[in-house]
């Protein structure tokens, strides 16, 4: 026994001493590498968190809006003193609704409307948007003239900011947009429950407005939606068809090599160049309207195509050759092989590439500025040829506004944009899962 053990024990020990050093070093290297990885990841996560925190903390208040709920007397005296609404339909459109609202608020605050200074100050507490709010009510139902209704009206942007605590009250009242008297009224109204924060549906549906409390991303959402639709409808079929041709049918020669290099280059071209191209070709040469989401969609399609083509070609290339061989060996034609076997297998990759391309296009601003989509558009575009804006452009425009209430709107719109991006990415993941689960 000992005979056998002792020499055998000697040799492995010498060996293991030598090998141990290498292993230790390798383990150390691996640990270091992991530490680097974790450090890099944490770094990224911290910055992501910072970004999200700054956007959300600034922007979440935009989804609440200060409103005043009060009884409003739709006085015939003010709206239609000559009782001519039956003959003159314009009368109801142009009536002096702000006064109706102001009088109602003055009554609630027990202030005499004869006090000119006080009633001016009261009028400033309400948004200019009340004109439209009350008009819509009256036009929809003229029978309410002469009655008193409880109505929820928008407070002005300054009241909104003050109520949300965003205005520095330490400065003297002559240096701020809201004076102490108005603050007192605000407190009184909020104590009585008339003034309160409500969910702000306006930010989703309203168009552009110079009054922050009445401004929304409605037009921008529609514009972005039209553009996404155009990009999807154009770039997916064109991109997939081009990739299939290049990948499966095109002969490999200098010319197709050149095309390939150019497609890869196009993917790296700055987006503003596409904007210039769109301005020159679609607007100036083809005479398509400026500021239209149709033109924006075309420009974004050009910009997205290289991304989709590259992703699709990679997905097609990744389909194992054995699947093609199997189909061809069974007597399937080239078209059948591609459409029955290769394309379905490449689908998850194609869809991921497409949605990433779309998400990229959704956030694109620069080319849209050049084709004039940066515009003050208050009315919904009914067709893609009508003037419109886009979400990122709206953010850009709001970011340039000075009023405090636009700051939270900017962040609010960023949150909306991020939500749509997350939605699209979740959609990509779900589609991927669905297509992969089929086998």
């Amino acid at each position: 026994m000992t005979d056998v053990v002792s020499p055998a024990a000697g040799i492995p020990r010498a060996k293991s001493v030598r090998r141990d050093i290498g292993i230790k070093r390798r383990y150390a290297a691996e640990r270091r590498f992991r530490a680097y990885g974790i450090a890099a990841l944490s770094f990224g996560i911290i910055f992501l968190m910072l970004l999200l925190w700054s956007v959300v903390s600034k922007g979440y208040t935009a989804f609440q809006q200060t409103m005043i709920t009060m009884p409003v007397e739709f006085s015939q005296q003010i709206i239609d003193p000559q009782n001519e609404r039956a003959t003159n339909p314009q009368k109801l459109m142009t009536a002096n609704y702000p006064v109706v609202a102001r009088n109602a608020l003055a009554k609630l605050l027990n202030v005499s409307v004869d006090d000119r200074v006080a009633s001016r100050a009261i009028g400033q507490m309400l948004s200019d948007g009340v004109r439209v709010q009350l008009r819509d009510l009256v036009v929809a139902n003229p029978a309410i003239i002469g009655t008193t209704q409880t109505v929820r009206l928008l407070a002005s942007g300054d009241i909104d900011s003050a109520y949300k605590g965003q205005i520095d009250l330490d400065v003297g009242q002559e240096n701020r947009k809201i004076n102490d008297q108005q603050l007192g009224w605000m407190k009184q109204l909020s104590d009585s429950g008339a003034l309160a924060k409500h969910f702000n549906s306006g930010i989703f549906v309203n168009g552009a407005s110079s009054r922050p409390e009445a401004a929304g991303v409605g037009v921008a959402l529609i514009g972005s939606f039209y553009m996404m639709l155009i990009v999807l409808v154009l770039s997916l079929p064109i991109g997939v068809a081009a990739s299939i041709y290049l990948e499966e049918f095109a002969p490999k020669n200098k010319f197709t090599d050149l095309i390939e290099v150019n497609i890869n280059n196009l993917a790296a071209v700055p987006s503003i160049v596409y904007g210039l191209l769109g301005l020159a070709v679609f607007v100036n040469f083809m005479g398509l309207p400026r500021s239209a989401s149709f033109v924006g969609g075309l420009v974004l399609t050009l910009m997205t195509l290289p991304t989709i083509i590259i992703a699709t070609r990679a997905a097609l290339k990744a389909v194992p050759p054995s699947i093609r061989a199997a189909a061809l060996g069974l007597g399937a034609s080239k078209m059948q092989t591609i459409f029955h076997h290769v394309l379905p297998l490449a689908m998850p990759g194609i869809l991921t590439g497409t949605i990433i391309g779309l998400a990229h296009a959704l956030g694109e601003t620069a080319p849209l500025l050049l084709i004039g989509m940066v515009a003050f558009v208050a009315n919904y575009p009914t067709t893609p040829l009508d003037p419109s804006t886009a979400l990122p452009v709206q953010i850009y425009m709001w970011a340039n506004e000075a009023e405090r209430a636009f700051v939270e709107r900017t962040s609010g719109a960023i949150i909306i944009l991020l939500l749509f991006l997350i939605l699209m990415n979740v959609g990509a993941i779900l589609l991927r899962r669905r297509f992969e689960r089929r086998w």
Partner: protein
Amino acid sequence: MNMMSESAVEKALDQKMSDASHKMIGKDVSVYYGEKRALFDVNLNVRENTVTALIGPSGCGKSTFLRCLNRMNDTIENCRVTGKITLDADDIYDQNIDVVELRARVGMVFQKPNPFPKTIYENISYGPRIHGLSKNKADMDQIVEASLQRAGLWGEVKDRLHESGTGLSGGQQQRLCIARAIAVSPEVILMDEPCSALDPIATAKVEELIHELRANYTIVIVTHSMQQAARVSQRTAMFHLGQLVEENDTDKMFTNPDDQRTQDYIMGRFG
């Protein structure tokens, strides 16, 4: 299926074989991959209802020749085939021959099992569907069952026809691929090292299957295993450096080959 009848069948088949017509005839077949020549004037005939084995060291052109027989070489960029190959009396490289139809007549089984990532049923039914072999669902069910029966896989998969074909074991996948090839009723089945990715038990099953298929199909099989060639084939062709060295009855080939190089290869002196 007792011993008597089986050997009787064998005898009848061998009888048929000896005066068998040549199912496929290759005359002066040469293949070039670009500038490189991979086959040199190969003259090889494939007999009907016979298993013909192609052997030889790797890189000698066995797969290349096999792919000529159903024009799979067409799918390889810059591959050029010269010479003449006929199936029955038709020149398969003729302008008027439709490759799709040719491949329906000459099926192929590959080295690595390559079922479609679809259900077992869809794997089998795909070929018949694109070739319009069934009129209705019942017809198709019939074809699927018959093909799986012939491939000896029916018993193992009949309860999971609608599960993925890629979920089967390697050996089952290869038999599924054979069933898929059978489903389009080919006349010739080409197999390129069909067992090289399988374990011994699965290999034995596939070999047994090849043996049975011989009654209905003409089979050409590439193999790198001498034993396999000896077990499954009646005729053997030996390739070396792109040339056909010798083609003979398998028995003769393994006992008393005409060519010294065959002898050396079989004895394991090279390859």
